[in-house]
């Protein structure tokens, strides 16, 4: 596997790893690692860095919904134009084209259910290409991006063993 992909494998699980640490782990120089990361940031292989937060722990009560959207595809561009339009709304966290009974899956966050209802009725449903929407509110998070949303598993090993 080339260096870039090996770096990505490490960073996927821990964006905190320093270039120096990764260099040691991957038998590369620190400069090579830095350059590879810069390259990937430039060509958008690495889109950005964010933090996976348990907002409930932080005392925030935001609301997130997953909306199934049926869309009329357009000649030449298919679903892309309307998908990109939906992406522009800041309350939209992710947009995916799906196989199956609907076309786009749109993840929306807001402060309250009212916010999301307003987004769906005023902004999303009113787009010409959108034929129907079904909104599912997320009730509880158990796991996201490989992280399990419960008490962290502590190290249960004996501190010294042969």
């Amino acid at each position: 596997m080339d260096l870039k992909r090996r770096i990505l494998k490490l960073m996927e699980n821990d964006a905190h790893l320093s270039a120096a640490t990764m260099a040691v782990m991957l038998d590369a120089s620190e400069n090579e690692v830095r350059a590879a990361i810069e390259d990937m940031e430039k060509d958008k292989t690495i889109l950005g860095y964010s933090t996976i937060i348990n907002w409930e722990h932080a005392g925030e009560d935001g609301v997130t919904a997953m909306i199934d959207v049926k869309v009329a595809p357009e000649r030449e561009v298919g679903f892309s134009r309307v998908a990109q339009r939906i992406c522009r709304f800041p309350e939209v966290r992710s947009v995916y084209l799906m196989s199956g009974t609907y076309d786009l899956s749109v993840v929306v966050s807001g402060d309250s259910m009212k916010d999301i209802a307003a987004f769906v009725s005023h902004k999303l449903s009113t787009l010409d290409e959108v034929q129907s929407t079904v909104t599912h509110f997320i009730l509880k998070r158990y796991k996201r991006e490989n992280f399990i949303f419960e008490e962290p598993e502590e190290d249960k090993r004996l501190v010294v063993s042969p």
């Binding site: 640490t21 598993e153 501190v159 063993s161 042969p162």
Partner: protein, 394 residues
Amino acid sequence: MDKYLTSTVKSIPPSGIRKFFDLVMQTEGVISLGVGEPDFVTPWHVREACFYSLERGYTMYTSNQGLLELREEIAAYEKRKIGVEYSPAHEVLVTIGVSEAVDLALRALIEPGDEVLVPEPCYVAYAPGAALVHGKAIPLETFDSDQYRLRPDILEKNITPRSKVLILAYPNNPTGGIMRHEDLQALVDIIIRHDLIVISDEIYSELTYEGQHVSIASFPGMKDRTLVMNGFSKAFAMTGWRVGFACGHPDLIAAMNKIHQYTIMCAPIMSQKAAVEALRHGEGEMRKMVENYNFRRKLILSGLREIGLDCFEPRGAFYCFPSIKGTGMSSEDFCELLLREEQVAVVPGNAFGSSGEGFIRCCYAASVPNIEQAIERMGSFLRRHSSALSNTGG
């Protein structure tokens, strides 16, 4: 009560690690590089297979030798990994970890006064195991300058008419040393010429970095005189399940099974069911864990060298075994002081035999931040004590 205890059990020294363990337990905020097991929890699919077996009501004894389906998987596994074929019916025994397998083998093979050749530094159980059957463990010293491989001249020099068993434990705990094909080849002649039986403890075989693990059982003429022992603790992160196995000559396996049936009866069925799952579907998860150890192996090695400790590059297991001779301290003093002053736990090398004196065992089955933090603390410890050393003209 002392007068009731046998002189044999009294002759066995308590584990050097135990004393240190008590000390660590009294200290707060410790970063431990002193463990001897994976920092992964058993992969979920294995745990889940165990639940399923309980739901289905598998709560009974198994055959003494172990579930046939597990022995079949073990035979297939050994064929795949070391290229040696074993009959699941007669040449495989499922045990309570490799520890039990070693004990059974020594009980089946050693007459009072027989000698067991043990390369040191090594895992703590072999010499006491020999002593319990009134055998005599003969340490074979290995050196960091030889990358802790057993040298044929050292083996030959220590063989006497009473020598019966040679224990080979590679990849090695505590050194991380391995024996490559040519290193084993050099021993084969001597072993056959002196008619030795080999107990090959290969519990760390999957944790071989750079190259493939080679078993001495795979050499011509060696299968029948070798007991291959392995298990699930290290590779599959299943230490607490206590399940391992021995493969070897049917007569020897039958003899070991005889002791096993009277002392243990059988390994727990839920552990055996989980082990079946690990062998059938665990390779992918296991490879990921090994890759992860390898990253940390490089990290800790470079860290230890950076703070000025000489360290041979370990090619197996999950330990580094740096020399602390430059500090002028004994292994135990070093570890005790490091624990008191910097709250980092590592294991004194002499716990693994007197040839481990002057070394410490650092386990890198720890998180990356913990490894980095431990190295930093050890670095400031060394700076402080090496300046003290030079101030006093040491």
